[in-house]
């Protein structure tokens, strides 16, 4: 191989794959699988093939903020045999401080040069953000090469074609933004303005969702249709609940009530064990995980809703509803409800007791004094 893949954005994905020894047959099978996962018609497969054959790879700057790198880990484990090769070759990864071989000032220079060229209109790139930016105290809680991540993010986003927010951190804050959020971590859309942002939430997002999104962007040269909060509809349109293999047990009214009970053995619905399937939008029920091996609900554990906003705060994971946080108290909604109803009952009892006392008093008064006709009428 004459050139390093990182430094040769002019090569198409197909050319690069051929260099890596991928056969045309394997390549076509990947295209067909990806097209299917994007929900494209079979006649659209040639478009995917042609895009990967002819279009220069997507130059991507991949930033890492406050995060655990599980998105990258997931991405690297894309399931299709050649996807392992294609995922990093599909894009021209011009900057990725976790994966790149180069280091130090040199690598920061690559990013700055790219931003500078884009500013002059000589280059185009897509910004992929993994993790988010702490904003408290000037953003000092996450610094890269001596700059705060917040600055790096804003500077790089300013000239990007569009922004991909990988994972729950970038999309909605995830654990570092959970209460009490000591570093003031904010998801990408709260840090930058004026750029199209596509959110790919999940902790991590499913590898096929990530590669699927990139394939779509490369094939059609635009972002896919997004839902209300900026997620690609093709992957986040439906709740897990609506495609769940245990759904028939939900509708039947058969629920697991404790781990390892009869219902758990029979594979009943995990709704009462706190499963977040009914409120979680993701593709787990479709793609599953680890190359389609299984997924949480398939393995007998409820969904924890990792692609949903606030999922860390809305605990406990094994309760049907989130606890309600009141000043000094954390309790369940039904405890609040029952307490309020009991308070109403107690108030009524006290009110009635007041009436009884009042009557007893007015009776004894009436006995001593001459009866007051008005009050007699009222009572």
């Amino acid at each position: 191989m004459a050139t390093s893949p990182i430094l040769s954005p002019s090569l198409t994905t197909y050319e690069l794959l051929r260099q890596h020894g991928v056969s045309r047959r394997q390549f076509l099978s990947f295209c067909a699988m990806t097209a299917a996962s994007l929900g494209l018609d079979a006649k659209e497969v040639p478009r995917v093939v042609s895009a990967l054959e002819t279009k220069p790879r997507l130059p991507v700057v991949w930033l890492h903020g406050l995060e655990c790198t599980c998105c990258s880990e997931s991405f690297l484990r894309s399931s299709h045999p050649i996807a392992q090769d294609i995922v990093l070759n599909m894009i021209s990864l011009d900057y990725d401080d976790t994966l790149q071989a180069a280091a130090g000032h040199q690598v920061e220079q690559i990013r700055k040069d790219l931003v500078e060229r884009a500013k002059r209109g000589e280059a185009e790139y897509v910004l992929a953000v993994e993790g988010n930016a702490p904003t408290r105290d000037g953003g000092v809680y996450c610094t890269v090469a001596g700059e705060t991540f917040l600055d790096v993010l804003r500077e790089t986003a300013a000239h990007a074609k569009f922004v991909i927010a990988w994972g729950s951190c970038a999309s909605n804050g995830c654990v570092q933004a959970a209460a009490p959020n000591p570093t003031g971590a904010k998801p990408v859309h709260e840090c930058i303005t004026g750029k199209p942002i596509v959110k790919v939430p999940g902790c991590p997002p499913i590898a096929e969702v990530m590669t699927g999104l990139l394939t779509y962007v490369l094939t059609f040269g635009r972002l896919p249709e997004l839902d209300r909060i900026g997620r690609p509809k093709m992957f986040y349109r439906q709740r897990l609940h609506d495609k769940c293999l245990r759904r028939s047990f939900f509708d039947a009214g058969q629920f697991v009530e404790s781990w390892d009970d009869e219902g758990a053995h029979k594979g009943w619905c995990l709704y009462k064990m706190g499963c977040r399937g009914p409120t979680t939008y993701n593709s787990c029920a479709t793609f599953k995980w680890n190359g389609g091996v299984s997924w949480p609900i398939g393995s007998g554990h409820g969904c924890i809703g990792c692609s949903e906003e606030h999922f860390w705060d809305d605990g406990p994971f094994y309760e049907r509803l989130a606890n309600v946080h009141l000043p000094g108290i954390e309790t369940t909604p039904q405890t609040i409800g029952v307490t309020l109803a009991a308070a109403a009952g107690a108030g009524i009892a006290a009110h009635l007791a007041g009436l009884a006392i009042q009557r007893a008093r007015s009776k004894s008064q009436a006995a001593t004094e001459k009866a007051n006709t008005n009050s007699e009428m009222e009572v």
Partner: protein, 241 residues
Amino acid sequence: MDVLAQSRRRRLYEPVLVWQWPIRIFHWVFASAITVLFVTGIYITHPISNATGEAGGLSRMATVRTIHFTAAAVFTIAFFWRVAWFFLGNRYARSGFPQLWLPSWWRSFLRQAWNYLRHDYRDVHLGHNALAGLSYVIVPVLGGAFMMGTGFAMYGESNPGGFWDSLCGWIRPLLGGSFRTHTAHHLVAWFFLVFVIVHVYLVLMNGTQQKNGLISSMISGRKFRRIEDSQRTENDDGQGA
């Protein structure tokens, strides 16, 4: 004139049509819907027991949800029916409305609260008193609007991009996602229980203390007004006096 005046003087009470039939129908339909919604809602949140047998032949949760959704449709129709009758109905249909910008409303409100506390039921209203009016606006009206909004936002989830999702789906992100919407919907349901407890208690209390046919008025529509009270009709209530 004299004859009429005499006959009026002889009677102590006269019937007054307070609740027109659309209001009475609304009341009972709405009350039934709330009852069904609360009971089925509690089951949906905490299904107390498991159905036995093959899942394929069972539909307990599905049935309860269908009943919940049907009752929700009834609730919604009744809600807007009542709102329409706020404008179309007689003066009592608007009585007690919290006119928070009027000092007279606040005086009436505070007097009513004080009267309840000391068990003074002499201040008879034909329509809603100010305190009742406020409580109706808080729980069934604002609470009801919240329940309909969140309810249909969740109903729409099973058909993304469909009618209900397009109409109400924006409420979910507003409340911090689908899960928080579920929790909020469940929490507010309990306020309806508290409302019903207090409402029924005060109806029974006023009805038995005032003896003006308050309880039966929600069936017959009529309350009884003391003749001497009717001499001062301007004061008897209409717009929250």
